[in-house]
């Protein structure tokens, strides 16, 4: 009798499975047609880093202290700054990151003493050369302002 029972129970389990997929056939689709439809980015989204513009000063607040450069696990950040006044602090003139080797851990953003680093929301960087991933954030900031 077990023989017949196995066949019936087994066959019925297959029908049950087909019911699940059959129902799914008429459910709404969950995917998004990407280039035409876009999803909202998460508020914490970690793109590559960029310099924040402070409205009070109208520019970034990077003092070229080099903390981010030291804390970066992959060593992709190079900062250069000059002293604008003899007594004042330094101001960054070049802030170069090699995004191709960045692992987006966010340690630089956390460690920044002036909080002038933030994550951008860009997620579609592409380019034919690996040098396209090397970005000077100061120039980038100036471009985006103008």
């Amino acid at each position: 009798m077990g023989y017949w029972k196995d066949i019936v129970v087994g066959g019925w389990s297959l029908v049950e499975g087909m019911k699940v997929t059959g129902r799914a056939l008429f459910k709404p689709v969950v995917t998004v047609q990407y280039p035409r439809q876009r999803l909202e980015l998460s508020p914490a989204y970690r793109g590559h880093i960029e310099l924040k513009v402070f409205p009070e000063t109208g520019t970034h607040g990077c003092i070229a202290c080099g903390t981010c450069q030291r804390v970066c696990p992959s060593g992709v950040i190079k900062v250069q700054g000059v002293k604008q006044h003899a007594r004042g602090g330094k101001v960054a003139t070049h802030y170069v990151i090699d995004f191709t080797r960045c692992s987006l851990c966010g340690l630089c953003v956390e460690s920044c003493p002036t909080q002038t680093l933030q994550f951008s929301t860009e997620y579609e960087m592409e380019g034919p050369s690996r040098w396209d991933g090397v970005v000077d954030l100061v120039t980038r900031m100036e471009e985006s302002r103008s």
Binding site: M18, V20, T21, A24, L25, V29, V30
Partner: protein, 329 residues
Amino acid sequence: MMEAATNTGGDWLRLIVGLIVVLIFSQLNALFLVWLERKVAGHIQLRYGPMEVGPHGLLQTIVDGIKLVGKELITPFKADKKLFVIAPVLVFMPVLIPFLVLPFGPELIIRDMNVGLLLIFAFSTFSVLAILVGGWASNNKYALLGAMRSVAQNVAYEIPLLLSVMSVVLMVHSFKFSELVMAQHRVWFVFLQPVAAIIYFICATAETNRAPFDIPEAESELVAGFHTEYSGMRFGLFFLAEYTNMFIVSAVATSLFMGGWHGPFGWSLGIPGVIWFLAKTYFLLFVLMWFRWTFPRVRFDQLMNFSWKVLIPLSMLNLLVTALVVKFV
């Protein structure tokens, strides 16, 4: 309705026109089925499937076909070149022949032979040979494993397939498709022979190497099985042959069990027979796709066990009962 063989001129004309129509139909049909499969898979899996080329991606398979034609035909090193080249042709040629005898409608049979059913089964076995040749000639272990599995599977499933068909033939006393269909004018055989119908459908799934019986290609085990080494249009021919085979087994199931060109219980509802026939065939094809996107793959030895221990005894029993009923009732 049935063409008398006296008018030989008309007969030849009919054959030639039929062949051309069959060629075009089988190609377009296979392309359409590939699209349909992808759509069914997509929606079962809560996604769209092809959407880009043409309305709802209808032209996607044509574009894919063009891509396949443009691809390089790679012949592996140390492969048996002649057999390797000939295998895709071997697999594709016999799948066209069954179209000659399929009863699409009361007037739409190219050649209503009195051994039509036998012809189909004779030629459908042929594709196994092609798969064996292709798998063996590839000089690849995965392909060889796939080919060996394919042969064993086809041998095992041919038997219950024929036995289940025999019970229908016993009821009608004919191998002729037109007569088989005519006998279902009132009641479809799926109601009189449910066991035979189910067994036939299971075996047909196995015969066409479709999931859950797709062990000859089993991509998670054997990469791509017997067509691992095939590229370009050679692979395309295997692919088209698979879908054409699916159509044939579904069409045979329609004419044997689902009443062919008849509507249910003799109501034709004013719809032409060929529409009834195609609608039922495509429904069965849809069920085949539904199977594929629902079930896991059966293991090889379980597959054989299932055939020898369940399907064959059941179909034998069914045949015996049918024979007794036909004899004494």
